[in-house]
């Protein structure tokens, strides 16, 4: 009895069983593969598991664009994008370890069950050795656990909750995107600088895991700068009209509203807050302010003019290299190849999955094997540069990337629909680094890497 599954396509392409249509049945036994879905042919299959339906479908579509682009670059197509700027130079445009990169796609529908079913189909049916993509933490954590069990690598997409590399961290899972803690740590000094150190904050928080960790992170970080927390209210996801949560804010004595919402909820809550005049309001003798800890380009587009002047944090922005110089090299190379192919600049969701695939490909090349345990070893403690975020470390203790965090503000006079935010400052990596056993990340264990089979 074999354990796990083998890559059927790989097997067949290797010519292990060809022709002989009615030959005696051959039953494969475990020695056939050293690990799950070992690619034995001349190509390797990666699984791109992104939301294609549901609220984050547009973000998923942007990720898919970047993923198609990175596959093209790895196979030697296009201008190579960030492959030239990447500090590790093992990639030569001949695929990964000489094997052509093929990919399969699936729909996570921002639903843990659908995301896992889709990932399992990639692993069992298509023989994927690595799964990437996704636009929220629920599916990311769920798929990460699945990949751990199945013995493949999971390169997380856009997932911001601390849990992904905190209490739900797994040895086979890696996250390039930043997290709640980093948002809090990056925003706090800039908020204190811009709005003062004696603000009274009111939190409206999405009532699920990501909301909890982000609220905690921002609260702890801003309180250390002297802010006070007046009230924290949990709002149901998809509440639609947030008016009944907004109206109590002005009467609470708070002078700052922190909207811990993402996606459609953030668009609606911010729109409602602006409608109710919070942007023009005065409280405690000062201008009332709104903060959105996690920004995204698509959300900014959805919120339209309401986003003007609102501060938030991002993992990356396409203007980074132009505005802050060569430290963020790679940004322009990526923006150029993405823009030339699709006609508009990429989002941070697109950027993070592009980097993840490139990092995976490089790790395989350096390890000289697709074996997940070898890849884990190659990625752990890996320091790199040239992928648009400046010098970055993949920490071995929790498989989280550490890099600078971009603090942005909604632009007053955007030139077009892709230029909605301006970079205020970049918080250096030292300020957002935390010990791997920080209380906000407690309770998790990486466990041992699993190679399946």
């Amino acid at each position: 009895m074999t354990k796990g599954t083998l890559s059927r396509r790989g097997l067949l392409k290797a010519g292990a069983v060809t022709g002989a249509g009615l030959a005696l049945p051959t039953i494969f036994t475990s020695p056939a593969a050293a690990f799950t879905n070992e690619p034995t042919g001349d190509s390797v299959t990666l699984g791109f598991n992104v939301p294609q339906s549901g609220p984050y479908a547009d973000e998923g579509a942007d990720q898919l664009r970047a993923l198609e682009l990175v596959a093209e670059h790895l196979n030697g197509g296009g201008d190579g994008g960030m492959m030239q700027t990447f500090s590790s130079q093992t990639l030569e445009g001949n695929g990964i370890m000489g094997k052509r990169v093929e990919f399969v796609t699936g729909d996570t529908a921002t639903n843990t069950d659908r995301a896992r079913a889709s990932a399992r189909s990639m692993i069992e049916k298509d023989g994927a050795v690595m799964i990437t993509g996704g636009s929220s933490s629920g599916p990311a954590v769920a798929v990460q656990a699945l990949c751990q069990d199945a013995g493949v690598i999971f390169m997380a997409g856009l997932t911001h909750a601390n849990d992904t590399t905190g209490k739900d961290r797994r040895a086979n899972g890696f996250r390039h995107f930043f997290n709640s803690y980093m948002s809090g740590a990056a925003l706090a000094p800039i908020l204190a600088d811009q709005y003062g150190t004696d603000r009274k904050a009111y939190y409206l928080t999405a009532d699920y895991n990501w909301g909890y960790t982000t609220e905690q992170a921002v609260q702890e970080a801003t309180e250390s700068k002297g802010w006070e927390t007046v009230e924290k209210v949990l709002t149901p996801v998809g509440a639609g009209d947030f008016s009944s949560y907004i109206t109590p804010v002005l009467q609470s004595g708070a002078d700052t509203l922190v909207l811990v919402h993402y996606g459609g909820d953030m668009v609606n809550s911010l729109t409602n807050a602006v409608q109710f005049g919070l942007r023009e309001a005065q409280a405690n003798g000062r201008d009332f302010q709104i903060v959105v800890p996690l920004y995204s380009e698509l959300m900014a587009r959805g919120a339209g003019p309401n986003i003007k002047g609102i501060i938030g944090s991002q993992n990356w922005d396409w203007k980074l290299e132009n505005q802050l110089g060569a430290k963020y090299t790679g940004t322009n190379a990526f923006v150029r190849s993405f823009g030339e192919k699709y006609g508009f600049p990429p989002s941070q969701a697109a950027h993070t999955v592009y980097c993840q695939v490139m990092l995976y490909a490089d790790a395989v090349n350096r390890a000289g094997s697709f074996n997940p345990c070898a890849v884990v070893e190659a990625l752990e403690g890996f320091e790199f540069d040239g992928l648009g975020n400046g010098p970055t470390l993949y920490r071995a203790d929790d498989h989280q990337c550490f890099k600078d965090v971009v603090v942005v503000r909604g632009k007053e006079n955007p030139e077009n629909e892709f230029d909605l935010v301006e970079i205020i400052e970049v918080t250096p990596v030292e300020q957002v680094t935390y010990p791997h056993d920080h209380p906000q990340f407690a309770g998790g264990e990486l466990g041992a890497c699993n190679a399946g089979a």
């Binding site: 339906s53 549901g54 609220p55 984050y56 479908a57 547009d58 579509a61 009532d207 009230e231 209210v233 949990l234 709002t235 149901p236 998809g238 509440a239 639609g240 009209d241 008016s243 009944s244 949560y245 109206t247 109590p248 002005l250 009467q251 609470s252 459609g264 668009v267 609606n268 729109t271 409602n272 409608q275 109710f276 005049g277 698509l298 587009r301 959805g302 919120a303 339209g304 003019p305 309401n306 396409w318 203007k319 923006v335 150029r336 823009g339 030339e340 600049p345 030139e415 077009n416 892709f418």
Partner: protein
């Protein structure tokens, strides 16, 4: 006290959307006996009438800006809407600014036509079919409508603001003898509430005071007898369906400045509006409107911090909890009639 008044206002506003959708839904239930799972999609289509009009008015051609470049180094192109050229920049900007109210003019014929086409092309074949079949076919239709919108407009919410004149808030505090700036309420939300009252009144008046309405009400009570009397009830029911579609569509148009529309918004409202209709009582138009406002107000109260400190998570379930309590204490909802959809 001012907090409570504000929450009542919020509730009336939330309730307005529920009431308008439920009104059309119960009209279709009551007269045609059809469970219309595509009603949320009609609401969503109404919103996209506003989005579409906004897009049409913003149709532009590109003019190169001398001396500037875009992110790829090509000459920067600036978009100039055609409306600016036809009506001059000031009038053009004003027309674009007023695109949401203007969309009402677009939505009435469009939604009316969609309603007619839906009833004639699809729904009328399902009058005699079991409710389960009606659910399946209308749900299928809702998915198709949603996906078509997603194909053309994407999944991201699309901001569609109210006219400049309606930004800002009305100070109820001064009116009611409180301090200034304690009870501020945005103009557009007041407009939305007023609009709802107007539509509800118009529908009731129409059914109450016209011969047409009389026949429809008679048909609601006893369809067969009305048919035997030689009145062509089918044609009237088509028009009722179109009216319900228009009401849902207009609710959607006016709602766009409150919530940026996306393709999925109809589904979110669908379940709630069914709950509203049933809590109001099957076959009762006043019941649907009343239930809409009651649930809207209770939902608003449940989201106050003081309430949530006491009962965390109440805001997640309040509508369903209230629905269960009402349905268990009043067998046919608030104002339901005996024997409608009870078997």
């Amino acid at each position: 006290m001012d907090a409570i008044i504000l929450q009542i206002l919020n509730g009336l506003d939330k309730g307005s959307a529920y009431a308008l959708i439920a009104l059309g839904l119960t009209l279709i239930f009551g007269t045609l006996g059809v469970v219309n799972f595509a009603h949320g999609a009609l609401f969503m289509l109404g919103s996209f009438c506003a989005v579409t009009l906004n897009r049409i008015l913003n149709l532009s051609h590109e003019v190169a800006v001398p001396g500037e470049t875009d992110f790829l180094g090509n000459p920067l192109m600036r978009e100039v809407p055609y409306v600016y050229e036809w009506f001059g920049e000031a009038t053009g900007a004003a027309i674009i600014d007023w695109s949401v109210p203007l969309a009402i003019l677009l939505a009435i014929p469009v939604m009316g036509f969609i309603g007619l086409a839906m009833e004639r092309g699809l729904i009328k074949h399902f009058y005699k079919r079991p409710h389960a079949d009606q659910i399946l076919v209308t749900f299928g239709l809702a998915i198709v409508l949603q996906e078509i919108i997603k194909y053309f407009y994407g999944a991201n919410p699309i901001p569609t603001p109210a006219p400049e004149a309606f930004r800002g808030s009305f100070d109820f505090g001064l009116l009611l003898g409180f301090d200034a700036n304690t009870i501020l309420y945005p103009y557009w939300r007041l407009v939305y509430f007023g609009f709802t009252v107007f539509i509800v009144a118009a529908v009731f008046a129409f059914l109450q005071f016209t011969t047409f309405g009389m026949v429809v009400r008679a048909g609601m009570a006893d369809r067969e007898t009305v048919g035997i009397l030689g009145i062509n009830i089918d044609r009237r029911f088509t028009i009722v369906f179109a009216i319900a579609a228009i009401v849902a569509g207009l609710a959607g148009v006016m709602y766009t400045p409150i919530i940026s529309p996306n393709y999925n918004m109809g589904m979110n409202f669908l379940v709630l509006s069914f709950v509203v209709v049933v809590v109001g009582g099957m076959g009762s138009l006043p019941g649907a409107v009343l239930a809409g406002f009651v649930l809207g107000i209770l939902e608003s109260f449940a989201s106050m911090p003081q309430v949530l400190d006491l009962l965390p998570g109440l805001n997640q379930i309040v509508i369903y909890l209230v629905a269960i309590i009402i349905l268990l204490t009043r067998p046919r909802g608030l104002m339901g009639r005996k024997g409608v959809m009870e078997e």
